[in-house]
Symmetry: C2
Subunit: 386 residues, 2 copies
C-alpha cells in the first residue's frame, strides 16, 4: 500500500424528502446564486423543492449551463456573481452543473486576469467561494469530490481542474430524482461510475487488500443493479444503491494508497471535445482497447477483476484477464452503449492523430498508472477504437 492523505469535508444529506435540510447548511446572510442546466428541474419538481428550502434567503438564479460545461457561458455566470456580490453558490443538477459551479467557485476568488489559466496552468484551488449541491443525476461523483472538467468550444478543448478548496460544503442526494431521468442518461451514469472505479482499480497490485475489495464492491453492486435500472420502472431501493455507488466511485476513498490510471478519461475527453459524444460513451469506446493495448501491464488486476466481478474461475492469468476485458465491453453494450467510435461519427478519420498531437503539444509524455502511455501509444489505442 502506498502512503496517502485523505480528507473529505463534504456533508452528504442522503434520502427522500431531505431537501429542506439544506437550509441549515447555508449561512443566514448568504447571497446565493442558484445555478442549473437546461431547465429539466422546472418540470420534475426539483426547482420548486429547492426554492421552498431556500425560503427566507436572498437568491439569484443562473440557468442554462450545458452538458460539458462551457467556458463562455460560465464566464457570463461569473459576471453575475461579481455584479450581485454573490457569496454562496448552489448547483442544482448533474455533474456538468456541479463542475461548472466548481469552476465558478475557483474563478470568483481567482486573482489572475484570465480564469482559463486555472485549467491550462493546472492551478490548484486552495480556497474557493463556498458552494453546495443538489444532485439531479447520479454519475460523475462530482457531488463529493474536488475535481471538475470544463469545456471550451472555440478551441474544442476539455480540461480538468481541482484543489482542496473545491469540495462542496454539502450535497443533497435524493434518489427520487432518478424517477424523471431518461434511460439514456441512466445508462451513461452507470457506465461513468463503472469506469471511475476501473480507472482506480485496473492498474497493478500493490497489496491494498481493502481498497481492492471496496472497488470490487462498487463494481459488483453496479453489475447487480444495472439491468433493474435499465429495464424496470423506478424503484427507490435500486435508485438509492445506484446513487450511493456513483458517489462512492469517485469521492477519493478507493484511490487512497493505490496507483490510478485515468488514461481512458484523458482520451475520452478528447472524443467529446472533437465529436460531441456523451462523456460516458467515450469511456466505453476507449476502455477495452486501452486495456488490450496495455495488457501486459494490467493483466494481474484484470484477472482478479474477472474472478471477483465476473466469476471467472478457470484458466491462466492471461486467459482470465482477456475475459475480463470482453466482459467490460459487454457490460457497456448491455446498457445500450455502442463501443466503437464509428457508431457515433462518420468523421472519425484522423481523430487518433489529432489527439496524439494534442497530448504531445501539452507535454503529456506518459499517461496511465505507470506513466508510460505515450502520445504514439494514444494514437494506436484511439485507432483501435474506430
Amino acid at each position: 500500500m502506498r502512503n496517502f492523505q485523505l480528507k473529505n469535508p463534504t456533508k452528504i444529506i442522503f434520502g427522500k424528502g431531505e431537501m429542506p435540510k439544506m437550509a441549515a447548511e447555508l449561512p443566514k446572510d448568504a447571497k446565493i446564486l442558484l445555478l442549473y442546466g437546461g431547465g429539466s428541474i422546472m418540470k420534475n419538481g426539483i426547482y420548486d423543492q429547492v426554492k421552498a428550502a431556500l425560503k427566507g434567503f436572498e437568491v439569484a438564479e443562473f440557468g442554462g449551463i450545458p452538458a460539458n460545461p462551457e467556458y463562455a457561458i460560465l464566464m457570463q455566470a461569473l459576471k453575475v456573481i461579481k455584479e450581485k456580490n454573490i457569496t454562496y453558490l448552489l448547483a442544482v443538477g448533474g455533474g456538468s452543473v456541479i463542475d461548472g459551479v466548481k469552476f465558478l467557485s475557483a474563478a470568483a476568488l481567482y486573482e489572475g486576469e484570465e480564469p482559463w489559466d486555472i485549467l491550462t496552468k493546472r492551478i490548484r484551488t486552495k480556497k474557493g467561494m463556498p458552494f453546495g449541491t443538489v444532485l439531479t443525476l447520479p454519475a460523475t461523483g462530482s457531488e463529493m469530490n474536488s475535481g471538475a472538467v470544463i469545456t471550451r468550444k472555440d478551441t474544442k478543448e476539455k480540461r480538468t481542474m481541482g484543489g482542496p478548496g473545491l469540495f462542496p460544503q454539502f450535497s443533497v442526494l435524493d434518489p427520487e430524482v432518478i424517477k424523471s431521468v431518461p434511460k439514456r442518461q441512466l445508462a451513461n451514469g452507470l457506465a461513468d461510475a463503472y469506469t471511475h472505479v476501473t480507472e482506480q482499480y485496473l492498474t497493478y497490485p500493490v497489496g491494498a487488500l481493502l481498497q481492492d475489495r471496496f472497488a470490487e464492491s462498487i463494481l459488483q453492486t453496479l453489475v447487480e443493479i444495472a439491468p433493474k435500472i435499465m429495464e424496470e420502472d423506478f424503484n427507490y431501493e435500486t435508485a438509492s444503491n445506484f446513487m450511493w455507488c456513483c458517489t462512492m466511485a469517485l469521492n477519493g476513498l478507493i484511490q487512497k494508497g493505490v496507483p490510478s490510471d485515468w488514461a481512458t478519461h484523458m482520451m475520452g475527453h478528447e472524443l467529446t471535445a472533437l465529436h460531441g459524444i456523451d462523456h460516458a460513451r467515450t469511456l466505453a469506446i476507449i476502455a477495452g482497447n486501452h486495456y488490450t493495448y496495455t495488457f501486459e501491464d494490467k493483466k494481474e488486476k484484470l484477472a482478479q477483476y474477472a474472478e471477483r466481478i465476473w466469476g471467472v474461475q478457470e484458466g491462466t492469468i492471461e486467459e482470465k484477464a482477456r475475459i475480463g476485458i470482453i466482459k467490460t465491453t459487454e457490460f457497456y453494450q448491455s446498457l445500450g452503449i455502442e463501443t466503437k467510435l464509428s457508431a457515433y461519427t462518420d468523421a472519425y478519420d484522423g481523430t487518433a492523430e489529432i489527439i496524439a498531437k494534442r497530448f504531445a503539444d501539452r507535454g503529456w509524455a506518459g499517461l496511465g498508472e505507470r506513466q508510460k502511455v505515450t502520445p504514439s501509444d494514444v494514437q494506436k489505442i484511439v485507432e483501435m477504437s474506430y
Copy 2:
C-alpha cells in the same frame, strides 16, 4: 436503504515516515498538550518522532492515561489544560488515549459544573478543543470518529459520549508502529475491529447493497490477514491493511443508511467495568451468545455473512446462519481469545443480574437494532456467556 447524513472532516495522514507532516496541521501559535499512556512510546521511538515533528511548538506533556481511560486521571489532565492555557490537544496512543483526549476536548469547553454529566446526561459536543492523534495501536477506530468511551473506577462504570465537535482534526497512521505491539494487543485489535463491523452488519436486511459489501470487504480482509498478524513477523503490507481496516470499521461509513446493533458492546462494557477484562475480549464473550439469543431477528444477515465471509453455500437460511455464529466464535478463538466469562474470572456468578439491573436503572429498555433486547434478555445473554 435508510436516509442518512455523512460528514467526516478528519484528515488521515497514512504511511511510514509521515509523522513530520503533522506540523503543517497545527496552528503556529498552538499551546499543545501531548497526552500519552503508560510510556511504551518512550521505548519504541514514537515519542522521539513526535517530539521531532513538534519542534518549534510550545508543548506540555501529560502521560499515564490507562487502558479504559479513567475519569479521575483525566480530571488531572483537565487541570493542566486550564492551568497552562492549552489550546490544542495531541493524543499519542491507542483508543484509550484518544478517547480520553476526546473527553478532555469536550470537558475543556464544557460550561457545566460536573464534566461527568457529559457522559451520564448524554450531552452531544458540538464544539470541542481542537485535537489531533498519532495512532500507536490499530483497533478502536477512534482516530477517525467522534465517539469515546470513558471509565470511572469509583463507581465501576464505563460510559459512552460523542458529538460532531469531537472528530480529530488529523490522525497520523503509520503502520510501522505495529512492530512493537505485543501479540495479545494485536489479537484484541483484530477482534475489536471485526466486532465493530458485525455490530453494524449483523442486523436485518434493508437493501443497502453497497454498505453490506463494504462491511463484508473489511471482514474478508481481517479474516485474510489475521493469521499473518498473529503468526508471522512484522510485515509492512499486512500491517497497513490491518491498520486501514480498523479505521474503516468504525469511521461511520459502513453504518450510513443501515440499522446498527451495539448490544454486544453495551454488555461488553459492563464486563470490563465489573471484571477488568480487555474490551475486545468482552466482545468475544458476548457476541456469539447474543446472536444465538436473537437468532430469529438476525438470521437473514447471519446467513448472508456465512455465505460471503465463510463460503458456506449449502443449507437453509437457518443452517447457514447457525454456521455463521460458530465461525464467529471460532474466529475469536483463532486469535487466542477465550470466549467464556468463566475463563477470565471465578467471580462471574451474579454478573448477569448486576448488568440487567444497571440497564434497567438507566432506563435502557430496548437494546439492539430493533430496540427490543430488554434488561431481562440481557440477563439471559450474559448468563449464556458464563
